[in-house]
Subunit: 491 residues, 2 copies
């Protein structure tokens, strides 16, 4: 066996040996069964350390080129044979489109629509009102670094499997945050999830079921709509009015049938930005309690009440244990840590935790421990104040700029009392003009989120969502100016 | 409004103000609609900073006690009314047991069996052969700390939503690890999951479907069995022979029907510890390729080949794209980070990623970035060598101690060539004696994992799993001695 080592080669010696043996085997110079020289012998011959040879042989073994037993020669092993029957087209042994579930087809078919949204916002010079998520420019990286350090100081236990209900410390801290929003839950009425989406997925596993009905607001959270469809539930759309979901329409549905649940975002609804008032919340809760139909309350932006209006979650009034509350940090901070929670009656939580136990084992223990540190150190509140200050100003500038630059005779929009989003409707334009609208926006270098994403069935009019979550205050007016031009261009 | 502040009280001033106002409202001294003094006035009166009063009012607002509008008085608001119809029993408005899915009932019903396992291993003086997971005593906490530091140095992007397929750097690094095991996959044939369990859950969403059939080994991974049941698939058990799944039985099944997939753990099978040989793997692959039935290969302990035998994954020979390979770090390191992966044909991965996109949005970006650092820095390999050294010795001691202390005339056990587990059968004892066995072990202060967990239907004989993953070498013999006594006590 002749090897040619080059000290000038940047690859380490063991790697050179390994690669050259691989070549010798592949080209047939070293046949199956051939013995490699003993490590000691080869080391002497090549003038290298024996451990280098051992490492090379280990690598060869790992690559499946040699067999080796302790105290015996390493020999070239028979390489794996192809398992495909001769003549069959290797790459098409399984037709994944055919064997895959309807859930998978649904998800796959929906993907491009969401990618299209992304394409309209390539960053750079574009003003993007498309993205909804905490501004990464405000992200308290240093605070998280400190929180991680504290969490890791506790030793390896934070890197272990945890409780499938989530860290009890974090549950307690998040329960405390819910009390800030007037909602009292005990820690056995709480579980930690990997974000609100994961919470909704668990709820659909609990209550969904093929062919069951779920009542949703129309428009509603785009990615949530797809998840519902993936679970095979039938969607009953209830229109959003300026004051929230049309409760008369809901009441009619509840008289006729018993849906699996009602999915609602009472605060800064996605996409409309509408926040319902106290009487609306009470009536919704009373209707569902009487009908014994769970309410899934998605409180994804509960922490974004920066204008100081006090509307408490529906969950805060839920004496009957009817409300399943979905919470998340992701729209406020650290979306990449995937931390959310569910607050519900203990009988409901118990089942969601069981589903989680067997589908995920546990959540991300380190992330949970770090967020617990972040909350208990007071850094969360400090950060929230900054976030509020920033977005209070952004929203004021946004609404003022829209008033100034959008054509009020053709467009209507909501005036949110917090959160990130406003919703624009062009009542005299057909939904089919969306492509033209996106094209006009692209030309003006402003990105929006197309309205069609937010409806289970096609909307009747042209509409879109604007989000201020990632637009610096100084760029907002320019964005609205461009948007105004785009809308006029459309006309 | 009379407030009584006490500088000696450890509660901050704003909190004292807030608490006292809450009391005044709750006891009716401050009626609904009452105006609170302007912040400036109250600050002067109490001799505190105005910002303290503002903070107290904010808190009162957050708790739902007052309404406030910018530039106007804060007034006591009407407290929320109960929404439950009079006379209804508040806590039973929803009967979760009745409205919950069969999946939830299955999961909930199975939970206590797993808790029972946990109870037999309370730590302390007990020698626990029950737990299967990397030894936390070996956990490279410092290396992870360094990896997190490097990951966070990249700025807030690692705390953002990521690619639903997972970090491309980590995919590339894990693909490289698969090449170490002789398996070549490109990065569009890989996705990152939150552990192998999450991967299996996605596969079941793709291929499972109510009423479809899945072929499993018997015995098989306990928590995996429950997950299959949760998805409503029918399980076809194929017995494990000393050399692996009975392929003749599998062939008969494939002649009769076309299952959704075959679920197998060819290396260090959980619970038996059996590793199949090359010919078994080739025959399994050929059978399934011919029948066009996907193989789900769970490689949960691929990295635990510490005895140096080179058996490559079935996936390494998979020219037809039939094998869906589930990988995970959790049985080697950092289970609490929840990092696993799936390697499969791109048409399959595409669908799994779409399912993940809408059910999870994305994975844990920070954890993925940190693990990528951990892999690329070489710390993973250093750690693996230590892990291998430790477990090579542990397994040698274990097998020697079993030979010495277990009654060979009554018990049979497997001799694994790596990994963590061995499997003990008592062929002359009925499975019903499990409770007595566990009790005997409890008395001897040794914990085992009861065999019944690992069968879809009740096993015929008494059996159990032993794991060395968390027993220090010095305690193994004592554990086997106790176990021997427990088995004799049973007799």
């Amino acid at each position: 066996m002749i090897l040619d080592l080059r000290p000038s080669d940047p690859a380490p010696i063991y790697r050179q040996i390994c690669d050259q043996v691989v070549t010798l085997v592949d080209e047939g110079s070293l046949p199956v069964g051939a013995k490699l020289p003993p490590t000691r012998v080869l080391a002497r011959k090549l003038g290298v350390n024996r451990s280098t040879i051992c490492r090379a042989y280990e690598e060869l073994w790992a690559l499946g080129y040699v067999e080796s037993r302790p105290g015996s020669y390493s020999t070239v092993r028979e390489r794996v044979r192809r398992a495909v029957p001769a003549g069959a087209d290797a790459r098409t042994a399984i037709d994944w489109a055919r064997v895959g579930s309807r859930a998978a087809s649904t998800a796959l078919a929906e993907l491009p629509r969401f990618r299209r949204e992304a394409r309209t916002a390539p960053g750079g010079e574009v003003v993007s009102f498309a993205r909804l998520g905490a501004d990464r420019g405000l992200c308290p990286v240093d605070a998280l670094r400190r929180a991680l350090r504290s969490a890791l100081a506790e030793g390896p236990s934070v890197l272990e499997y945890g409780d499938p209900a989530g860290s009890s410390a974090l549950r307690e801290l998040l329960a405390r945050r819910m009390r800030v929003h007037g909602t009292s839950v005990t820690s056995d009425e709480m579980m930690i999830t990997a974000g609100a989406q994961h919470g909704l997925d668990l709820v659909l596993r609990l209550l969904g079921g093929q062919g069951r009905t779920v009542v949703i607001e129309s428009p509603s959270y785009a990615i949530g709509l797809v998840l519902h469809k993936m679970h095979g539930v039938k969607l009953r759309s209830v229109p959003m009015r300026p004051d929230g979901m049309d409760l008369t329409a809901l009441e009619r549905i509840l008289q006729r049938e018993r849906p699996a649940f009602v999915y609602t975002m009472p605060t800064f609804q996605n996409p409309t930005g509408i926040t319902t008032g106290q009487p609306h919340r009470e009536r919704l809760l009373a209707l569902c309690t009487r009908a014994r139909v769970p309410i899934v309350e998605d409180g994804f932006e509960e922490e974004m009440k920066y204008f100081g209006r006090s509307v408490l979650p529906v969950k805060s009034m839920d004496e009957g244990g009817v409300v399943i509350y979905l919470g998340t940090l992701s729209k406020v901070v650290f979306p990449g840590l995937r931390i959310g929670w569910v607050a519900a009656a203990s009988g409901c939580i118990e089942r969601l935790v069981a589903l989680n136990r067997f589908s995920s084992l546990t959540g991300n223990s380190l992330g949970q421990a770090a967020v617990a540190q972040f909350c208990s150190s007071g850094e969360f509140e400090t950060y929230l104040r900054r976030l509020h200050r920033t977005h209070r100003r952004r929203m004021q500038v946004m609404l003022a700029s829209m008033d100034q630059h959008l054509p009020a005779d053709r467009a209507l929009w909501t005036r949110p009392t917090g959160g990130y989003t406003t919703w624009v409707r062009l009542p005299r334009r057909a939904a089919q003009e969306e492509r033209a609208l996106l094209e006009a926006c692209r030309r003006e270098r402003v990105a929006i989120s197309p309205g069609s994403l937010y409806f289970a069935a096609a909307p009747r009019e042209l509409c879109f969502r604007l989000s201020i979550s990632s637009v610096p205050e100084a760029r907002i007016e320019e964005g609205c100016r461009r948007l105004g031009r785009a809308l006029r261009r459309l006309a």
